[in-house]
C-alpha cells in the first residue's frame, strides 16, 4: 500500500498513539504522533513536513478534535484529510454528522477500533484524495 505516505496521529493517550503508530507503520506509513493540539499545529506549520493524512482524537487536553480540524484548515497550509478517531462521540452525534457533511472531517472511526476498519477508512479517504 501507499509507500512514503506520512500520517499525523494526534492523541493525548500514549497507548492509543502506540497502537496507531504500530498498526500504520506495519502497513508502510510514516507516522508522526503528537499529544496536543498546540504541538500538532506547530508541527503542521513546519515547511519540511509532508503530511498526507491526519488522525485526530476528539478530546485533547487543550482543544477539541473538531475545533483542531478547523484550526488546521484556518491556521496552516496543510490540506491533508482528517479522520476523527473518538471514544467520546457516536457516529450519529450531530457534531460528527455536521463535520462530515461540511467536509471538515473525511471519516469517523470509534474507539476501540477494528484494525481493518481503520485501514479501510484510511484507504478510502486516500483514494478520494487521488481522484
Amino acid at each position: 500500500m501507499a509507500k512514503e505516505v506520512t500520517v499525523l496521529v494526534v492523541d493525548d493517550e500514549p497507548e492509543v498513539c502506540w497502537a496507531l503508530d504500530t498498526l500504520l507503520r506495519r502497513h508502510g506509513f510514516t507516522v508522526v504522533t503528537m499529544d496536543s493540539g498546540a504541538r500538532a499545529l506547530g508541527w503542521l506549520n513546519r515547511p519540511d513536513q509532508d503530511c498526507r493524512l491526519i488522525l485526530l482524537d476528539a478530546k485533547l487536553g487543550d482543544i477539541d478534535g473538531v475545533e483542531l480540524a478547523r484550526r488546521i484548515r484556518a491556521d496552516t497550509r496543510c490540506t491533508a484529510p482528517v479522520i476523527l478517531v473518538s471514544g467520546y462521540f457516536y457516529r450519529d452525534d450531530s457534531v460528527v454528522q455536521d463535520s462530515l457533511s461540511a467536509g471538515l472531517i473525511a471519516a469517523f472511526v470509534t474507539k476501540p477500533f477494528q484494525h481493518d476498519e481503520i485501514l479501510s477508512a484510511i484507504s478510502i479517504v486516500l483514494q478520494k484524495q487521488k481522484l
Partner: protein, 506 residues
Amino acid sequence: MKKPDMTPSLDSDERVPSPIHSEPEGWYEKLYHMLLSNIPFSLLLVDRSLRVVSANRNFLVKGRRSVKDTVGARISEVFPETIMGFTQLESKIRNVFDTGLPLPGAQMTYRAPGVHTRIYYYTVIPVSLGPTVEHVMLVLDDITEKVQLVEKARMVERHLATVVESANDLVVSTDTKGNIVSWNLAAEHISGYLANEVLGRKLSEMCLASQQTGMKEMIRRVTEGDAVQSKEVGLVSRTGVLVPVDWSCSPILDDSDKVSGVVAVGRDLTERRAFEQHIFQSEKLAALGVMAGGIAHELRNPLAASFSAAQFLLDPAGDPTFQRECVSKIINGIQRSSAIIENLLRFARPAPASDRVGQIDLVALAQETISVLAPQAKLQKIRILERFDATPVLVSGNTNLLQQVLMNLILNACQATPGGGEVIVRVCREADEAWMQVEDTGCGVSPANLGRVFDPFFTTQPVGKGTGLGLSICHTIVRQHGGTIELDSVEGRGSIFTVRLPCLKA
C-alpha cells in the same frame, strides 16, 4: 327529740361553767357583737323555729340586707328559694338541732341581687347552753377568690400538660445536673422508654455514646446562664435504633431567677434524614450523568489500546518481544479500565445510612474523589491541582456524604470554568479545624447571588443542566457534620469554597 343526745355538749356545765352568770350584765353581749361584726365570716344565729336571731355585719354587707329585714325573719326568707332547695338548708339545720352535732362543711353558691356570684363554704354549728341545742350558728366563709384561683391554677396546669403531652416534639425537663424530671408522650413514643423508666436518669446517657459530651456540654452551658443552646444529638431508642434529634435547651428559672432546671425540646429528624438521603442519592446520580461522558471516554482509551494489541497478537508471524509487549498492553489496559469502573461504582453505590460515622482521612477522600472527576474535568480542559497536607487530615463523618460534598464543589467549579483552566483543591489542617477548599478561576458569583448559592434549586445553569441542589446539599451535609461552608467570590475572577470541619487528633 327522737334521738338520744349521744355526745355531750362541748360547753357542758361540768367542764366550762357558764360565764353568763359570773360577768357583769351586758358585757358578753357587747363582746359578742364586737366579735361578730369584725369576724371575716358571715354569721347567722338561728333559733329552733328557724328564725334568724342575729346576723353579723359581714353577712348583711355580702347579702345586701339590713338588720330589719333579716333579724326575726325565717331562714327561708333570708336565702333565695333556689338555694334553700338546693342546699336543703332547713332540714340540715333541723338535723343539727336534733343531733346536736355540727354539720360537716359544704359549699354553696349564692348570688345576692346586684352582686356577682359568690361561693361560700358553710357549716352549721350547734350552740347549746344546756343539754338541748337552742340555737345553731350558720357560718359562711366566702371562698370565691380561693376557688377561682385554684380553678385557674388547675386550668393552667391542665393546659400546660396538654401542650407538653400533645406536642410532636420531645419535651424533656431535667434538674441542673441533667437528671430527667419529666418525659412527655412524644419522648416515650420516639424513644420507646416510658417516663417512669427514665425519670432520674441522665438525659446525656440516653444519647449516642460519642455525642454524650455534646448533650452534657449543652445542659452545663444552659445551667451556667448561657442563652438557648441547640445541637443535633442522636438518641438511642430502647430497640437500639439511633434517632437523630435536633435539641434546643433552655433554662427553667425559679422565682428568684435562679436556674432550677433545663427544658430540652427535641425534634425527631428521622423523616427529614430519610428524605434528604433520597435527595442526596438522586442528586448524586444526576452528577454521575454529567460525568458519564468523561468516564466513557476514559474507559475507551485503555480498551482501544488493549483491543489493538489483541489484534496484533492474531498475526502468527509476530516476533516474541513484540508479542510480549502486546500482552502487557492488554493487561495494563484491563487493569486501568477496571480501576475506572471501580471508582465509578464506589460513587454510584447508594450511600450507607448517614448515621454511619467513622474516622475519615480527608486527603485520601479527596484523592479518590478527584480520580473519578478528573476525566470529566479533562474533557472540559480543566486541570485539577491537588494541594494536600503531607499528613492525614482526620475528621469524624460519613465518607460517602463528605465525598459528595467535594464532588459537588468540584463539579460546580468545573461548570463555572467553561473555557477551561485550573481548579485547585486544598485539604489541610488549620488549628483544630480541617479545611477542604475548592478554588476556581471561573466566572465567579455576582454580589446579588452571593446570598443564594446555598439555596435549594438556585442555579444559573440553563434548564436541564443543573438541579440547583448540589451546593444546598453540600451545606446540609457539612452542617450535619458540625462544620461550616463559606464562599468567597469575585465576579469574573473566580470563587473559593471553604469547608471547615472539626478536626480529630491525628
